[in-house]
Symmetry: C2
Subunit: 421 residues, 2 copies
Amino acid sequence: MKIQGLRGTRDFYPELMQELNYIFSKWREVSKKYGYQEFDGPLLEPLELWTLKSGNEIPEQTYRFKDKSDSDIAVRPELTPTLARMIAAKQKELTKPIKWFSIGRFWRYEAPQSGRLREFFQFNVDCLGTDSMKADTEVIAMAIEVMIAFGCTKDDFYIRISNRKLINAIFNEMDIKPESIKELSRLIDKSDKIGEKEFESGLKGLGLKDAQIKKLKNFLSLKSLDKIKDLDENGKSGLRELKELLSYLESYEFSEYVELDLSIMRGFDYYTSTVFEVFDRKKELRAIAGGGRYDDLVKDFGGEPCAGIGFGMGDVVLGLFLKNLGKFPSSVNGIDYFIAPVSEDVYPKAVEIGSILRKKYSVCIDVTGRSLSKLMDYANSIKAKSLVIVGKKDLDKKEVTVRQMDTGKEEKLKLDKLGNL
Amino acid sequence: MKIQGLRGTRDFYPELMQELNYIFSKWREVSKKYGYQEFDGPLLEPLELWTLKSGNEIPEQTYRFKDKSDSDIAVRPELTPTLARMIAAKQKELTKPIKWFSIGRFWRYEAPQSGRLREFFQFNVDCLGTDSMKADTEVIAMAIEVMIAFGCTKDDFYIRISNRKLINAIFNEMDIKPESIKELSRLIDKSDKIGEKEFESGLKGLGLKDAQIKKLKNFLSLKSLDKIKDLDENGKSGLRELKELLSYLESYEFSEYVELDLSIMRGFDYYTSTVFEVFDRKKELRAIAGGGRYDDLVKDFGGEPCAGIGFGMGDVVLGLFLKNLGKFPSSVNGIDYFIAPVSEDVYPKAVEIGSILRKKYSVCIDVTGRSLSKLMDYANSIKAKSLVIVGKKDLDKKEVTVRQMDTGKEEKLKLDKLGNL
């Protein structure tokens, strides 16, 4: 009986695995250029990491179970709580600012659809130990650099930026009831998708008056910070942060990638200031990446207060995006040499030749004993660049035949010249 | 409240992550040299993959649960069933022999102890589509090459090899009752650990007579295949395979790494012929790697019959082994340049300099605005090789100060020479 893999999962056959490794290589390349160090945590975590700070949407989608010792286990749906736990555990030993990145697997129990799978990989970039907007800028710059590293331009993607303090001040000023803020935030977050009419009726459903709705919509549509006034202290601080952030981004010459968008909320409750998302310009896909500042999180996990900013970028939406734009490198890495022993008695010599070539090249030796014509087909199918035919007659003359697979050109090569290849 | 990670898991802080990445890099390097292609499967799988072929020890240690749709889920404890499932699903499209490797995470609910954790990484190498002992040899050669790539010699490790057909023939010839074979295999597998006395009393407990025990012990202690006789057809085939394998290993010049050890059983039921394990010479640790031939597995998973051989090498025992031998590279990769802006107004210039240097180097820019002396401490702590001090006076002369962190030597560098660094 054939068994299928679970719904919403992928089998990474070599071709798909190469795409994934290509994505990983760019994530690592940019992180290292910025001096970030790689870390990771366990894939299973105590469920407590997510229930400790409740009111979060995540536990609903979390794969969870009890292990044999009756402990509540979560298959991690995101990395940030693990990061906060790890920082809290070694806070005194770690030199701040902590600049870390991670590439890991995650699971969420969601309805699989385009851009959304149950198992995915996520790149996380985090800078902790400072509340300077320079850190926010650096992290956003890295998100932009990653997209550029994939060959994308400002016509392909952009970053939408907001600040939670600012939006909270607006809610405050509009006298939104505290118990409605969560629902309202969600509604704003999806306002782009649901259309104006549904958005308005949603706002009415939350008890907003016409004047409030007008004011809110007006605010959310702002493309510049200049006209914002009448803010509380918290709001003023958010406004100042956002202005600083936008000005620092100019130093990176990344302003053209960035747009103010006060409707960006981000689902996670732990964000306290900057929030941002990476989107495709065509707005056909979900967010490619998203993140923000979480200044209370390490404290919430039992550590000393430690400001932090970070983002996550999943492989699924990104993969779709790159595929749509034709940005994946087309060539599958082939093998340098395929070694074909034409008879059983020359196999030891084929192995010896393989060992010499492996010092520099990727080498595949036949293990089947099939005929030369079948081996040529096989060498083609595995995209071997050259074929080394090891035959008795050639060996008597201390040579082998080397065939270029693309041109079909064959040449004799003396055995003592193999090391020069 | 501080939350701990789960028992038997590791938090990969950057230093430990570097060790792990070092292990991964060697695993990948050898696999590519041998022309093997990387693949992977999902981390969660239908539990069915393990219960389908029962009588296996694995399900007992498997993390399992029901998801929201009441499906039985396993957190994978090993890769081979996933591989068999993937081969069975695309058998017609895949060119044989299939030469694949994988590096992934796995979970087993075991009592954590030295060399055994609940979460671990495992390197898997598999060659499917041929029953030639050349494939077994290649795969074993790769296990040896990996150990050599870590800087280990024949004095550090060795491979113990056996063949299931051969041992089954001996059981057969000794008239061991079929229902005792499983228990007997287990007992033999741990005979090394438990000592002679306990081994003998275990054999008696399984109903073996003194003559049988003597014969079995005699057989298990054989260091050469020459004296083995009186085998059934299956046993003769196993003997022939083992002889062939040992002779092919001579071609690789790897004979000195290999020992015949007929007490090697391997826990998994799916092995049908060759079985082998990599051990430290000092026999202080568990097996570093283990594998074998599983010619019926793809068929068991609903595919056409497809012979296969492979091994798994975990990171935990290997890591202990390398650490004990001092084989981990000592230096932690540092950062090439740390850029220290001495005042707020030069920050944009610091960013600009960072962008130029990042074309070739890893560059960390200060995001805290701390004093120069504090920044020097920080640059030291992150192992920066050079410090670029960006100050107003220098900039007026279109230059910066570059300090070598090891010698403390400082030099002025013109801004237009930055690209030449």
